[in-house]
């Protein structure tokens, strides 16, 4: 693909909305079916480079200023200890969370908040195996699924726009305030509402989804801080972002309530890829699953209501025809076939 085409594609995916470029891109696309393929490949490259893989390089570098930062200096010794304790606790928490929050983090802060004076942000994290309910300063209720986190400014209540950032999955009951829109940024989706309830699923490397239970929600694609045109959702509809086409589309949902069944500890799967089922189990029960078979293309429908891991595995054993062994926090899965 030549450079001119790449320029057009970059203009397109970054949401520039340059009419002339869009027209030229369309002309190129219809010229040859191969072009469509190349275009999709380019979009995939764009999407898959949105996040930087977790790197350790910063740690050594930060260690050098850590001593400087924590140094007593004008600070009293107690404060120093306090900081150290805080720091240690954080390290411990980070270790517990393990890989769950690694990626996607870079997305969180791609743009500083609109309300510039809000420098102080609060982060709430739900550890693996835990579902956390958070009450935001504006009385909005948020349930965080295992291994998810939310960031919000301390002065959320007085902000002109109520901006929060979500990593992972969360169910929101937004306090109605028509004059102060509530905006959730998660992966590369922006969800804008006035007052309503909806579920956002935005696990790193997965197709993010927004499902609406009540009210009206506007979802747009957030690309490097630029918003695409929004699509509007009503109850029992969801927006799905396709990583391949880089586009958002609307789907009807049979039972929107299923989307937030997890808040009561239920695991609900409806034609869910088996790999995703494993990931959900890993988060819910704080385990790691290692499977010989990749179960590519396999789907599973099942619902588990607050039951022990052993029972869940037993069900999987029967439905997927697997054998499993548990060693500490790791579950090894052998065999298995698709139905």
């Amino acid at each position: 693909m030549d450079q001119e085409i790449w320029k057009l594609i970059l203009s397109h995916v970054s949401g520039e909305n340059n009419e002339e470029n869009e027209i030229r891109l369309k002309e190129w696309l219809v010229k040859d079916p191969v072009h469509q393929q190349q275009f999709e490949q380019a979009c995939e490259l764009w999407n898959d480079t949105a996040e930087i893989p977790e790197q350790a390089g910063w740690k050594d570098s930060f260690a050098q200023i850590k001593s400087e930062v924590i140094k007593p200096d004008s600070v009293k010794a107690t404060e120093e200890k306090r900081l150290k304790v805080v720091f240690k606790r954080w390290i411990a928490a980070a270790a517990v969370l393990g890989g769950t929050i690694l990626l996607g983090i870079f997305f969180q802060n791609r743009r500083p908040a609109v309300h510039a004076e809000a420098a102080e942000w609060i982060t709430e994290t739900s550890a693996a195996g835990q579902i956390l309910k958070v009450l935001l300063p504006d009385s909005t209720e948020v349930w965080l699924n295992s291994g998810s986190r939310i960031r919000f400014p301390k002065n959320l209540q007085t902000s002109a726009i109520r901006n929060v950032q979500l990593t992972g999955e969360g169910f929101f009951k937004v306090k109605r305030d028509v004059r102060h829109p509530f905006i959730v940024k998660s992966l590369n989706l922006q969800t804008r509402v006035l007052g309503t309830s909806f579920n956002i699923k935005a696990w790193a490397k997965k197709q993010p989804e927004v499902t609406v239970m009540t009210g009206k929600v506007a979802v747009s694609r957030d690309s490097a801080g630029t918003q695409s045109a929004a699509i509007h959702l009503l109850p029992n509809q969801k927006a799905v972002y396709s990583r391949i086409s880089g586009k958002l589309h609307k789907e009807d949902v049979e039972e929107a309530a299923d989307a937030n069944a997890w808040i009561s500890g239920k695991l609900m799967f409806n034609q869910t890829p088996v790999q995703e089922v494993f990931e959900a189990i890993e988060r819910r029960y704080q385990v790691r699953i290692q499977s010989e078979h990749d179960f590519k293309g396999c789907k599973l429908t099942a619902s588990f209501k607050n039951i022990a891991l052993a029972e869940v595995l037993q069900t999987l054993k029967i439905t997927l025809d697997i054998h499993y062994a548990i060693n500490k926090q790791t579950i090894y899965i052998k065999g298995g076939k698709c139905n």
Binding site: E51, G57, F62, K66, T78, E79, F87, E117
Partner: protein, 184 residues
């Protein structure tokens, strides 16, 4: 955390950032910022000192940052320029022609593909881009700066920024196409 947190002295030092948010900021900004610092001072160790000085001063002076990204990149630029002036080194921006060719011989794609993770494999390739092209890529894709903002940060033209990005993506596409099977 015991009695420490209730110590009355806490009010005397209420940083704008607590250590956790501060470290978080550092972690998020480091990948691109360090490359930018190296680009400016042309020395990895010095670059790290310059970058760390900026962060230390934010912490110590309790700087309240509203536009984190813009502020940090601007500060690193200023700190680098001061450093260069002090060390009487000549601050000279390399000419475009001096950019080394893509070090293809070092590229061992099999190593990258063994890590199944596509994102990791892609960044393995991106990290092989010439220094400046890689920096432009990071500034654009990771930090979300516009062509114009990048041009200002690097003192190059908007056209050059676009050129770097296009060539960067072309390089990726070429590699991925060539090794399509491993990438699936």
């Amino acid at each position: 955390m015991g009695n420490h947190s209730t110590a009355g002295s806490a009010e005397h030092h209420t940083p704008v950032y607590d250590l956790k948010t501060f470290e978080d900021l550092y972690r998020r900004m480091y990948p691109t910022l360090i490359k930018y610092a190296v680009y400016l001072v042309k020395d990895a160790e010095e670059a790290q000192l310059v970058l760390n000085d900026v962060f230390i001063s934010i912490w110590k002076n309790k700087v309240q940052i509203t536009e984190e990204k813009a502020y940090l990149f601007r500060s690193v630029k200023n700190a680098a320029l001061t450093y260069l002036k002090n060390s009487r080194m000549q601050f000279r921006i390399l000419e475009e022609e001096q950019i080394p060719l893509i070090p293809d011989q070092n590229a061992d794609p099999s190593q990258a593909y063994q890590e199944k993770d596509r994102n990791r494999a892609l960044y393995y390739l991106i990290d092989q881009l010439p220094e400046r092209r890689r920096l432009v890529f990071y500034l654009y894709r990771i930090d979300g700066f516009s062509y114009k903002e990048i041009a200002t940060l690097l003192d190059i033209s908007v056209r050059t920024v676009e050129d770097h990005l296009v060539k960067g993506f072309q390089f990726l596409q070429e590699k991925v196409t060539r090794h399509e099977e491993e990438f699936r």
